[in-house]
Symmetry: C2
Subunit: 399 residues, 2 copies
């Protein structure tokens, strides 16, 4: 008896993945270099050399029984300590080893954080536009994802709608800044206001409301971005991190949850995560990868290509008359489509071998996402296709 | 609001882990070499050199964007193909790439297999003695673990009790052979009879009953053991494997589920596992580890120490008059305690720095488990402690 719930999910194919598969197929016909594939958020720069060196050293020169042996269920102790120290130094926090729980990337981090601070039937609020996988991440815990309407002026928080959404069933607020898909970064002012409202609501409702902060793009920040460390501003907060983007290691599935030392039950939350692991088959990220990242916690890949690409694309889009908020980080940009139906817009773009993702699944219809983690040379070559596309389909000529 | 269910789990500490922690503490006092620690099933032999070589090569000589990039959610395709081919060659199966799903060790494999073929409220049967973590693995899916009484004569299946336990709510049978904790191996005769009964019950109840076969000890077999590949004998079967024990890589969290090509919905089960992953935060084992194991699928560590230790311990126990079934594999042995209360027995053994695990949590009271994945030299030194223990506590003198 195959579980019907999971079977039913098979029909709901990811739009992003479908577009990416189309791009691959199209590449077989005209050469992949001629497909301007802005669909997937897959880092295009190699991992930092220091990571390769650290992993090689560990594999070749350490005792294999120690390196490949069971990690304690909360993560290797020395790794947890190193993460705490790195965060304290960088963000002025006071994490101890006991506050850090190593996970299989941000997805693993969110799986533990969400289960720990919600129970089935609770509501989790997130802000549109949001990463579509949040639906699966949240709803499969038994909690219910509700979305706050977007603030399309600047992709900060729509506080009017946020306050309207808050009710006693809300157990957690899931925030993602720098944001996929908009590239926007919540400002200090925004985070302060968010914290203030939640403090008041905790008192009003008489229970905790946790901020679960999904921070895989924390290190990909552009010139001038005001990107506060959220746990500095709100006690009941769990930072979920992944090294996928900062070190270009998405396949290695390595990240962590950092429990705010000032949150409710901060001393035992990591141990609770360990209990959750037993039921979901998690049991730690790979030991050698844990050890290797702990040697390069303050390094990143060369991320400069993302800002270079962003500036080029932003200027191009503006010159073509697109409405677009300038990203403060990530490798995404989220312009308004040239017609109300973003799917129709993106279908037309396909004719010009421009692979753009319509925004409907991000909870913010009428926009499209471009993931510009591709070579700058290809970005520049795509501009002719853009010119042709908007001219032929919408009668627009660039400045 | 911390989830009370997980909070409550904090008080139920693992007996094995408590004993292991005691052994470590005691080691600080008298030197760990003088603590005869038979508590933990942690491989004592290094991984195969070929694995170290393969991983080093991949890390140093391959394109880092490819090696560390996102793995497809079902596992890296070339790795899945290699696993299918290896299983086909070794066990005469006919797996294709689509039948293999890469997981974070056996715990990850079981998390997916259990969710795919049960729904909340279904029963899953397992056979005592059994690995205590099965309680968490099964019950946290929403299904209910029920146990079949042990056959203490030879630790094959107690078919009388098995038939009594079968009812229309049973969706799956979870079997672990070679077995933790008994070291016993289900014979071809046992597996044939199991398959026959389940075939009949599937017809009677009008629905599938899956065998979920937990096989991390498949490669640790002793002279003369009759260890059939279970999926050869029953169509609705899912093989859950881990490289933790065969390659001594428990910290790397790498394994797979192999879907029997003749089971219900065999073409889509791996895709269903992929959907399950989205809700539990799994998202594949580490990509570099997937690639490295795929190069050494037919290798193992030097596992000979386990059989050598088993023979020494078995002979010693028999000479002291213990009732004990000779293991056919694994690195465990499961003798009857010298008094009814196995906990009391193991408490007394601690006085002699013998760390033995009482069997109560394995669903088979009155026995104890010894994990003999330790140096043979230490095994031999432990025999004096055994002599002293049984003489002083139970008045027994060895032959």
């Amino acid at each position: 008896m195959i579980n019907e719930m999971y079977k039913a999910m098979l029909t709901g194919k990811s739009v992003i993945r479908e577009l990416s598969e189309y791009a691959t197929e199209r590449g077989k016909v005209i050469g992949y270099e001629n497909v301007f594939d802005y669909s997937l958020g897959n880092p295009s720069v190699p991992c930092a050399d220091e990571f390769t060196q650290a992993l090689s050293d560990i594999v070749k020169n350490s005792d294999p029984v120690a390196v490949h042996g069971y990690s304690p269920s909360l993560g290797i102790t020395s790794v947890r300590t190193a993460v705490a120290e790195s965060l304290n130094k960088r963000f002025g926090m006071d994490y101890e080893t006991k506050h850090i729980f190593m996970t299989s990337g941000a997805a693993g981090a969110l799986a533990h954080a969400l289960r720990a601070v919600t129970k089935p039937g609770d509501e989790v609020l997130t802000f549109a536009p949001y990463f579509p996988e949040y639906n699966e991440y949240v709803n499969k815990t038994g909690a219910i994802l509700k979305t706050v309407k977007p603030n399309t002026e600047n992709f900060q928080i729509n506080f009017n709608d946020f306050e309207a959404c808050l009710n006693p069933n809300v157990a957690a607020v899931l925030i993602n800044s720098p944001n996929n898909p908009s590239g926007s970064v919540c400002s200090t002012e925004t985070i302060k206001k968010l914290a203030e409202i939640l403090e008041a609501k905790q008192k009003e409702f008489g229970h905790d409301i946790f901020i679960i902060s999904d921070e895989p793009y924390r290190e990909i920040l552009f010139d001038g971005a005001d990107s506060p460390y959220i746990s500095k501003f709100y006690d009941n907060s769990l930072s979920c991190y992944s090294f996928s983007k900062s070190l270009s290691l998405p396949g290695e599935r390595i990240g962590y949850v950092a429990v705010n030392p000032r949150c409710t039950d901060s001393d035992i939350l990591a141990v609770i995560f360990g209990q959750i692991s037993r039921g979901i088959g998690h049991n730690c990220p790979a030991s050698s990868i844990q050890l290797a990242v702990s040697k390069v916690l303050d390094k990143t890949s060369d991320l400069s290509v993302y800002e270079r690409n962003m500036n080029l694309i932003y200027d191009k889009l503006v010159s073509l008359g697109f409405e677009v908020v300038k990203p403060g980080g990530t490798f995404y940009i989220f312009p308004k489509a040239l017609e109300e139906d973003a799917k129709a817009f993106c279908m037309k773009a396909k004719k010009y071998d421009l692979i753009l993702v319509p925004s409907d699944n991000f909870g913010c219809p009428g926009y499209f996402r471009m993931a510009y983690c591709i070579d700058t040379e290809k970005v520049l070559r795509s501009f002719d296709a853009f010119d042709k596309f908007v001219k032929e389909e919408y009668g627009i000529s660039g400045k």
